[in-house]
Symmetry: C2
Subunit: 407 residues, 2 copies
């Protein structure tokens, strides 16, 4: 088990890695992402698993006949945020393969089909919609809207798909494939330090907070930064700056029940000596309750609008994506907790493909692996090798529990 | 005169113009800039003027023998800010050619050499240093530093020069050429509305405010926007946002004697769902007095540093360029005022190549043409055609005054 995991880890280590920073840049359909997909296909072939690429580009490695139905699906994703870490995504896919390896070494034979899945475009780094592959599969993202999304170079998803040899017309909900999934278990590096605080290598997920991405467009008037009197300006950067501070403050005031972040901004014209004509900025907001999330976003939008009145600018807000709260399947979690014995059960504020599948009615569970720093979406993201192997063992136990089988 | 001006205006109208916005994107050595340079060379050839490209890439169209010395130089620049207007730069170059045309039609023969100049890279849109061509010529910008400057794609000025067929090793102060310049007159669209308020089509420049570009690097720690508790963050976006608001407020508090603008910002990693690790932002600051500018920048830096302490981030500030105040040559201005009769004399907070040459000891004057909106560095930038022709007439009068000559 440890050899198989280590070999896979080494194989993907340098793919899409910035040697200067150690950060990963695996964005959907870029070179690094394509190389990761080739790696996934190669690992399926090495194990005699049948590779299936669905109409939305998600990759499935099947052990057993998919048509038999009620499959146990394991997996996660292989893409990254800009300058992301090594674990978010790949840890779940590698661990799934490694879990199957350890069981097969023992001669395990499953009594239902098993698949390892690589969900495409989980991070949404390129087109701004997270979990795009699983949302398209489940019908949570309209294919027409998806095809028209543009990356930072102005290319639509349809163009990018065509360049990658895919047929954009095929995007959309896939009932036949969904009907074959009995349950889904996603293993993921923890993105906080609950497991550190509790002293456990592995935990079970209870729920995902509701969350969304909200684009604020602040509009003013471009002008010369030197000659334009301060009182003659309509500077949207000021409206943005106040909004960013207000969002942070509002999230703090919830006492730990919400998060608000502005991590992406685009300025036009973007010259040092020009008052901006437009600032676009994306608010990532999350909360433990749907009503609290709604109130947070409404309050930030109201404060932005009030400030725009004072700056003689204007502001509009568009919800680019919104994910309702997810409670993972209780029966599944309870069987898994019994099997694993005494693992902590923790919530997360991060979105996952598991959340999308759960929202679509598929029984779903998540396993988390301890992250000593709690940092993720950064090269600092980390998990000790022993903790990773404990995650692989937990996944293997999960397969034994749910895919019956006799040794 | 009006025909010659109109024909030139039409010839350059579409070069580097974004058809969707009407904004111009002529950045040093990009395709649009190169096309403008070819246009400049063609206009010199049409008039039988000798084209000379100096070691820093500035273009000179000579009427008469440069070696005779004490030349009268007219001109401006042909590049733009991102999404800039049609007038800032080109108006001065076109008007210089048109002024010579009107004089030659009358049979005017100068008694000293005259040159029309196109100073390269005035806006600094690509490498961040304004007036790079005139600063290199006068020794105000170190060639070693210039060669190492990088554009947004990470290319150094040295690489970009080589791609453009230039020899980066040639950059640097050019004493022989400087020694040939007797005086320099730059015509420019006004970037405020002093001339509107005073009801004049043309004005004379008195001084340029001291100004500079100051890069602020705010450093924190990249992390997951959903799972990282608000109190565990080290988010440099907050430090930046407060700094942008503070800079604006400090400039307002001077009661019209200073300007402060953040118009350019870069965020790493720049993902919607990542707390930024780094925010770089450029402050453009100007004031009527050097001491006030210094105090403004020091205060903003101090406030940024204090806020960084509260955000658990850090901040460093680098002065990327600093231009001392410039008072244009009094003798030149006084002769010109006498010749033109009753023109208003106005200061400007915008930097110009004329300011760089003046700081290097060359007698220099500026003419401004009325701008009905006062807006510049934007597609809204405008001057009425009659006002442009009044500018051409003023330049022609200037040549008659200073280049003696007999009709």
């Amino acid at each position: 088990m440890s050899d198989s995991f280590a070999a896979m880890w080494d194989a993907v280590h340098d793919i899409g890695r910035n040697p200067d920073t150690g950060g990963y840049n695996r964005f959907v359909w870029n070179d690094a992402d394509q190389t990761m997909r080739e790696w996934f296909a190669g690992e399926a072939a090495n194990r005699g698993l049948d590779l299936y690429v669905d109409r939305n580009g998600n990759q499935w490695a099947w052990w057993g006949d998919p048509a038999a139905g009620d499959a146990l699906v394991l997996g996660s994703h292989l893409d990254s945020v800009p300058e992301g870490g090594a674990y978010d995504g790949p840890l779940g896919v590698l661990s799934s393969y490694a879990a199957l390896d350890s069981l097969r070494t023992k001669g395990f034979r499953p009594d239902r089909p098993i698949a390892v899945v690589n969900f495409v475009d989980e991070e949404g780094s390129r087109f701004g919609i997270s979990c795009a592959g699983s949302r398209l599969l489940t019908g949570g993202l309209d294919p027409e809207r998806a095809r028209a999304l543009r990356d930072r170079d102005g290319r639509t998803m349809a163009e990018v798909l065509r360049r990658a040899g895919r047929e954009p017309g095929e995007l959309g909900r896939d009932d036949e494939l969904l009907g074959r999934i009995g349950c889904f278990v996603e293993l993921h590096v923890e993105q906080g330090h609950d497991l550190v605080d509790r002293g456990h290598a592995v935990g079970l997920g209870s729920e995902i907070w509701p969350h969304g991405r909200f684009r604020f467009d602040f509009t003013g008037e471009a002008n010369h930064a030197g000659t334009t009197r301060m009182e003659d300006r309509r500077d949207p950067m000021l409206t943005y700056a106040m909004t960013a501070l207000a969002a942070n403050k509002r999230a703090r005031l919830t006492g730990g029940e919400a998060r608000a972040t502005f991590g992406r901004i685009e300025v036009e014209p973007g010259g040092t000596n020009a008052v901006p004509s437009r600032v676009q900025a994306w608010l990532d907001a999350r909360a433990s309750e749907q009503s609290m999330l709604r109130e947070l976003v409404e309050t930030v939008t109201r404060l932005a609008t009030e400030r725009a009145g004072r700056d003689d600018t204007s502001v509009t807000m568009v919800a680019e994506s919104a994910s309702p709260p997810v409670r993972f399947d209780r029966a599944l979690a309870s069987r898994l907790a019994g099997r694993l014995g005494g693992v902590p059960v923790i919530p997360t504020a991060a979105g996952h493909d598991a959340g999308v599948l759960s929202a679509a009615g598929i029984p779903t569970a998540m396993l988390f692996v301890r992250n000593p720093t709690g940092i993720s979406h950064s090269p600092e993201e980390f998990a000790e090798r022993d903790d990773c192997l404990a995650g692989v063992a937990a996944l293997a136990a999960c397969v034994e529990e749910f895919a019956g089988g006799a040794t």
